[in-house]
Symmetry: C2
Subunit: 250 residues, 2 copies
DNA sequence: TCAAAAGTGTTTGAATTACACCCATGT
DNA sequence: ACATGGGTGTAATTCAAACACTTTTGA
């Protein structure tokens, strides 16, 4: 296909996803045989990290981009997102929601026109995220970056990241989505740490407890944290089963 | 292209729009030479109406569908929406916002796979909307229906309408978008009528006034309504210029 | 016994609701 | 005058923030 033919061809559909994970993973077990909880080694603030993929072909060859790719003929939008996440991150996300669709003409001036449907996803602790920018496991072309200091991104992916961060913060402020950053069970203190990391401000523990429990989505497991050098916290789990797709709830 | 070839072809991109207008148009001028305001002739409740287009080809030939169509190679998503609205409704919308993208496989089992990007739009008074289902002006294949009693719709368009109604109600409850149903200037009573029609419940006039003015988006024009058999209401206009595109603000 | 986070209680002020009441106009 | 919606006032209620204080654990 020549350049001029491509330019008149109908737009292709691609799906890109903004993935968020925390580092260090809030409330993660540090694997020792006693199974003790170990909090942040020190006062390191919990920060948001995002995996990016290095482009291996023009346009924007060599620069970083969101994980994603074209939709297959027999795939739903969300299946495309999941397939690409499995390839780039290596596991299924804890949460996945459609964000927005971008169809600007400038997105890909020289190559074929592409309409991108953006998703955003949350992961709980992921080992590659812990190792920072120099990730090593599966793919040499995937690396994790702090959301505060992203490199220059291909296409309009910087805008997409900004919008996804906005959505993450907004939804964190009125719902309990952020529990998807954590494991199966978690303490309210851990959940509060996540909220503080996402919102970038401290949250009153007493009021947080009341607000979040008033929503009625958390269930007390009856268990408590063990091995803490202070009063052990109750462990909670989310009420409903782990739904994947979820429409934006504006 | 044969059927089996189509089935493996990459998905096409289409834009469909859920258009809302009110009937009778709240606070419309009824054209007489004195330019007097005339309220609803009687107690008829204000209701939401939606224009639909009759399909002239398979699949779903003969059934009603949302106005829309495929994206052109040099068109942005919103331009596609505007072009289709101009064709189906005959004028530009007062508000237009992206809703959600639908890419289910079942959407078009026999024909080419289509990914639909849905928008929603608000129109102020439109003459065809007033004439009800038997619209007559431009296009014989366009008709307006009450949102309460839509016919069977093609594809998954019924789901799209439901979701758009949800979004309209949600956004009406925390913002002043609904003023786009009205003309350039309007009274708070008219805006309140619109909110009551959209939300389906009565709204306290005193509290509504305070809430809506506290948002600071409405400007008192200094003018007042004329010709009412009761105390004339102040006329307001919206502060900012008429922005079209606006991202979903969840 | 001490430090530290878990968890409860209480006070204050802001925001929302409900509703009483006056105002301005055409009939 | 009077009916009608426009517009203001105000008390009651609910909601959110701030912060004091008690509890429970390991060291």
């Amino acid at each position: 296909m020549s350049a001029s033919e491509r330019r008149q061809a109908p737009p292709a559909v691609a799906v890109s996803t903004v993935v968020f994970a925390l580092h260090p993973p809030a409330g993660a077990f540090v694997g020792d045989d006693t199974g003790e909880f170990v909090e942040d080694p020190d006062g390191d603030a919990v920060t948001i990290w995002i995996p990016l993929v290095r482009r291996t072909r023009p346009p924007f060859e060599g620069t970083w981009a969101l994980p994603g790719g074209p939709i297959e003929w027999n795939e739903t939008l969300i299946d495309t997102a999941l397939r690409n996440l499995l390839a780039a991150v290596g596991q299924e996300p804890g949460y996945l929601e459609q964000l927005y669709s971008f169809g600007g003409l400038e997105r890909s001036a020289e190559a074929q026109r592409v309409v991108t449907i953006a998703y955003w996803a949350l992961y709980s602790a992921h080992e590659d995220a812990e190792s920072g920018a120099q990730a090593g496991s599966s793919d040499q072309n995937v690396a994790w970056f702090s959301a505060d200091s992203l490199p220059r991104l291909a296409f309009d992916h910087a805008d997409i990241v900004d919008y996804a961060l906005q959505r993450l913060r907004l939804k964190t402020s009125y719902s309990t989505v952020a529990y998807r950053f954590l494991g199966e069970v978690f303490t309210l203190g851990q959940l509060r740490q996540v909220h503080e990391a996402v919102l970038g401000q401290r949250v009153d523990p007493a009021n947080f407890r009341r607000q979040v429990l008033a929503q009625g989505h958390l269930v007390d497991t009856g268990e408590t944290q063990k091995g803490t050098p202070f009063r052990p916290a109750r462990l909670y789990r989310f009420r409903a089963g782990p739904d994947h797709e979820q429409r934006s709830t504006p």
